[in-house]
């Protein structure tokens, strides 16, 4: 008789790649050496068909993280329990080691903008989003990671620095942090701050996952398009991130102009090389 064991296995402190439909077949045929895969949760909310088929096949070979883009945690609309229910079923079926969402809102008055929109960094927004993260974790019966996002504007209403807001979300809600190093770099240029201050504000044991991606330029503003290789400035900041937080699972994200799998894997190997360096953790 077959021994039934849980598929859940921890994400190794290695580089992983974002799972995209273009690469399903090649991943499955070649099973390349890569630490883990991250799938966008909403892409697997359907009842059947190819997406779930491939995710199931790939799940046998790789540890998995589920990354949500549509929960709209920061919205003032009621939490969507239909969406949460689908996420919960997906978690039950695929046993991901990590589940994450963004520190954003993307809908109001029932209308979705389907984009990652920044919150004003205020005590009111902090309380609101922490309550919603707590309800989400309670409903899912597990901790989730919350990711910092790129932004192209700042609200005058904000009276808390973004990094303090993120650190406070971690302290109050019991979530973990998914630290997107590219987003920190993009915001440091767009809003003129020292990215190292950002890193120093985040508690050392909060970060359970790191994201890396490429950006584009638009009128002196950096746009987080996930459509380019990781920039050298971001690799440098990543090295400093690893020095502060230790070896943390790191994902290469690529969502527009998706390249050949081999290029994605090459980026992952670069991250692996940095994770493999000897780091003396700074005090």
């Amino acid at each position: 008789m077959l021994e039934v064991t849980s598929m859940a296995c921890a994400i190794p402190a290695k580089a992983g790649v974002g799972l995209r439909a273009q690469h399903y077949r090649e991943l499955l045929d070649t099973l390349p050496v890569v630490g883990w895969l991250e799938a966008h949760s909403e892409n697997y909310f359907g009842l059947g068909g190819p997406p779930l088929h491939f995710l199931e096949q790939l799940r046998f070979h790789y540890p998995l993280s589920l990354h949500g883009v549509g929960l709209s945690l920061g919205s003032t609309d009621p939490l969507n329990f239909d969406h949460l229910g689908k996420l919960k079923s997906l978690i039950k079926r695929f046993e991901p080691a990590l589940v994450s969402e963004h520190l954003v809102w993307s809908s109001v008055a029932g209308r979705f903008l389907n984009d990652l929109l920044p919150l004003p960094y205020t005590e009111e927004a902090l309380r609101h989003v922490c309550d919603r993260i707590a309800i989400t974790q309670e409903f899912l019966g597990r901790q989730i990671l919350i990711e910092n996002v790129s932004s192209y504007l700042q609200f005058k209403a904000s009276d808390i620095p973004e990094w303090e807001f993120l650190a406070e979300v971690y302290r109050r809600s019991g979530c973990g942090i998914l630290l997107d190093v590219n987003n920190i770099y993009v915001n440091s240029v767009n809003h003129d701050f020292d990215p190292l201050n950002y890193l120093r504000a985040i508690p050392r044991d909060a970060v359970q996952e790191i994201h890396l991606a490429g950006f584009d330029h638009y009128n002196n503003i950096l746009i987080d398009t996930h459509g380019k290789p990781v920039y050298s400035e971001v690799w440098n900041l990543y090295r400093q991130t690893v020095q502060r937080f230790g070896k943390v699972p790191t994902l290469i994200e690529w969502d527009t102009d998706i390249p050949a799998l081999s290029i994605l894997l090459k980026e992952a190997h670069k991250a692996d090389a940095i994770l493999g360096e000897r780091h003396v953790l700074a005090a």
């Binding site: 068909g49 709209s72 002196n220 503003i221």
Partner: protein
């Protein structure tokens, strides 16, 4: 109203109305105007929703071209709210929207092509189902056949059009290499959209086949369904067709 809620409403108004600074949204300018900053979000929002439509409606996109598709998409996005964080649901109203879209009126087949693509999209994400085990039928007493209600695979959808949309669909596939003209006088077609393995397939159906499957999908009993098929196509091969539908996992279940 909380100030967070007010800010979110103001932001949404600024994105969709295009009017500067909806509800007094106050932004830090820092060398770049608030309008330019909001433009980035307008581009992102319209870009993501347009991309979602393009992925669901590749044939419509091929038929009208990038520029006109984006123009139609912009009109659709303005009028049709996205109501889910899961973009799979976005665009269900696009075929109906195209029926009324003034500049698309000289392409009368476009709404039907779009509707066919929406069915393909739904089919792609529909539930899986096991084929029907023939012994289940064999074990039934013959007198119960008349009232059996056969069920189609959840990924099967029927569509009748008065335009040659199957041919139009074929010439717009990325790997199609043949003659690229369609004679519109070819007339209409009855189609079955199905998922075979991991691929979406279109199967032209005869009048009898279409009537039979249509009756099954509206949960009519077998006797009634057979009568409908024979009326649509005198001399229709009932048992042969039913056997083929079971073998091809088009008919996958029945209720007694």
């Amino acid at each position: 109203m909380s100030s967070l809620h007010e800010l979110q409403l103001g932001f949404m108004t600024a994105i969709f109305s295009g009017a500067p600074n909806g509800l007094g949204l106050e932004l830090v300018e820092n060398g770049i105007s608030g309008e330019l900053r909001l433009d980035i979000y307008r581009n992102n929002v319209f870009g993501a929703l347009t991309q979602a439509l393009r992925l669901t409606y590749p044939v419509v996109h091929t038929l009208v071209g990038e520029v006109f598709f984006n123009y139609m998409a912009k009109g659709y996005i303005r009028e049709h709210t996205s109501t889910s964080g899961d973009l799979t649901h976005f665009g269900s109203g696009f075929p109906v929207f195209l029926e009324e879209f003034p500049s698309a009126l000289d392409l009368p087949y476009l709404p039907d092509v779009a509707y066919l693509e929406w069915l393909c999209h739904i089919s792609y994400h529909s539930a899986d189902h096991m084929p029907l085990a023939l012994e289940r039928l064999a074990n039934l007493p013959p007198e119960s056949y008349d009232n059996l209600r056969f069920r189609l695979h959840p990924a099967c959808h029927l569509f009748a059009s008065s335009y040659p949309i199957h041919r139009i669909w074929q010439i717009c596939q990325p790997d199609y290499a043949g003659n690229e003209t369609v004679d519109i006088s070819l007339g209409g077609i009855n189609l079955l959209v199905q998922r075979m393995g991991l691929r979406i397939m279109l199967q032209p159906l005869s009048k009898g086949e279409f009537a039979l499957l249509g009756a099954f999908s509206s949960e009519q009993g077998f006797a009634e369904a057979c009568a409908a098929a024979l009326e649509a196509e005198p001399g229709f091969d009932l048992s042969g067709s039913l056997q083929r539908f079971v073998t091809q996992a088009i008919v996958v279940d029945f209720l007694e």
